[in-house]
Amino acid sequence: MLSEATLGKIDREVAKYPAAQKQSAVMAALAFAQDELGWLSKDAIAAVAGYLDMPAIAAYEVASFYNMYDLAPVGKYKLTVCTNLPCALSGGVHAAEYLKNKLGIDFNETTADGRFTLKEGECMGACGDAPVMLVNNKRMHCFMTPDEIDKLLGECK
């Protein structure tokens, strides 16, 4: 189910931990699996668990505990907007409102063309740069004025 490239990346993570502690690589391994497959199905989680010699249920517990794993399909671009208080004071909530209007969706919804999913995020440790949003868990965008948001949406083809 997982490609050689993904397994290779997992191996590199496993090497960071003591030999008896392969399970320590499960968070990274799930992230790589999500990168490759788009989201984490039960089968994908089981494949990761099998590769790390751990029970599937233990990997599933991890996948369901951490916010950034997607246990259901999401759009091509998952936009997570921080609306926590420090960001809200500098436009976080309004930026999310702006996005909802632009995309015609609410939080936890995906546009009909499958391009965008919108998520409400908690503090990303970047409150001085509000409004802040994360694209596909990995790329952080700061100081998102209406213009900047328009530009970002345009770049997400």
């Binding site: 931990y17 968070m27 991890v62 926590n84 208080l85 420090p86 809200a88 740069d129 868990n137 998102m144």
Partner: protein, 453 residues
Amino acid sequence: MALLEAINPLLSAGWQKGGHEWRLENDTGWRLKDYEARGGYQSLKKILAGKMSPDDVINEVKKSVLRGRGGAGFPTGLKWSFMPKAAPEKYIVCNTDEGEPGTFKDRDIQRFDPHAIIEGMIIAAYAVGAGRGYNYIHGEIYELYQRFEQALDEARAAGYLGQNILGAGFDFELFAHHGWGAYICGEESALLESIEGKKGQPRFKPPFPANVGLYGKPTTINNTESFASIPFIFRIGGESFLDLGKPNNGGTKLYSVSGHVNRPGNFEVPMGTPFARLLEMAGGMRGGRKLKAVIPGGSSAPVLPADVMMDCTMDYDSIAKAGSMLGSGAVIVMDETTCMVKALERLSYFYYEESCGQCTPCREGTGWMYKVIHRIEHGEGRPEDLALLDRLTINIMGRTICALGDAASMPVQSFVKHFRNEFEYHIENKKCLVPPDVQRAGSSFFTRNMGQA
């Protein structure tokens, strides 16, 4: 302002030289060669070449009165001294799971000065006799996790990590562990569980990590800023570091200033700097509006009204005396456009969302508090709700495995205490004391040229 260069000139330089854009354009100093050019790894060399013993190192850190920058303010040197000497397998862990709302200092240290963290961790490893370390990096800053991996490669290639470091017969391996979005993993024992590949649920204490930590082995865990301060302490000496600050509050500290100010950002100032000065450094109040309230130490710290805050200096003791906590040094500034009920509603939602669910008082209590504050904010509050909130906080505090329960309760208690009239107004009039259009203008989303202020 030489003091401001304590951890890294780039951290504070931005505000002097034109803000966010300047900082990004000048984000070129993080590589090993740049760090070495500004004196990096000299402290490690000095310690190893001068044959300072691990105990000498710990004593120097004790002298500096560096207090843990992760929130609790526990003296770092003392923490290191708790590590059992004889244990064969020990760990050093850095807590970069920065997710306490308002806090964004560790991200800038990761960005501008990853080698200061690495050097600090190596020195700590030498002091406590650890052979392996991990830096747990907050899920949302993936790009900086990648940068840290590169910095580690540089340090390994230069012989600062690995076997027989600098020929001193001391071995230490260091790795980065990337989180994936869970505030509770900032709590040290949850973080250790997370490195072990489990759900991030805090452990019962005692035993403390110094005895039973990562993989059950003795472990020292410190905040990023604590580690990043270590090389500087050995550059100028523990006593000089202490002298930079106030007695019992050693050194300089990074403050993350967010909210209704003109120039949000990180500012490194000596412990004991007046709050008014910090506010001025952050460009003053946005739009010249009036200061209403400040949360001085991250969202878990009690809120303080403007007049109390204006009399405070920024150090553990002064803020504690005023009835709050310096915590992580995250200063959340709110002006007169802020509805305190709505502000508290958002914070309560956060704790409800992030409770790991292990303890009933925290799991049920955070949900209940959110529900009550939500209904007050939405015009459905009942006269008895404020007393109910008070009871809820009392039933949570001190009855949980970790401090998240207290962290969720302190904002509720302090908001209701200091801004009771606003809560009462909401309940009686089914609307907000601060008109909606005034609130809306506060964020400046539709008017401000962000980051250029």
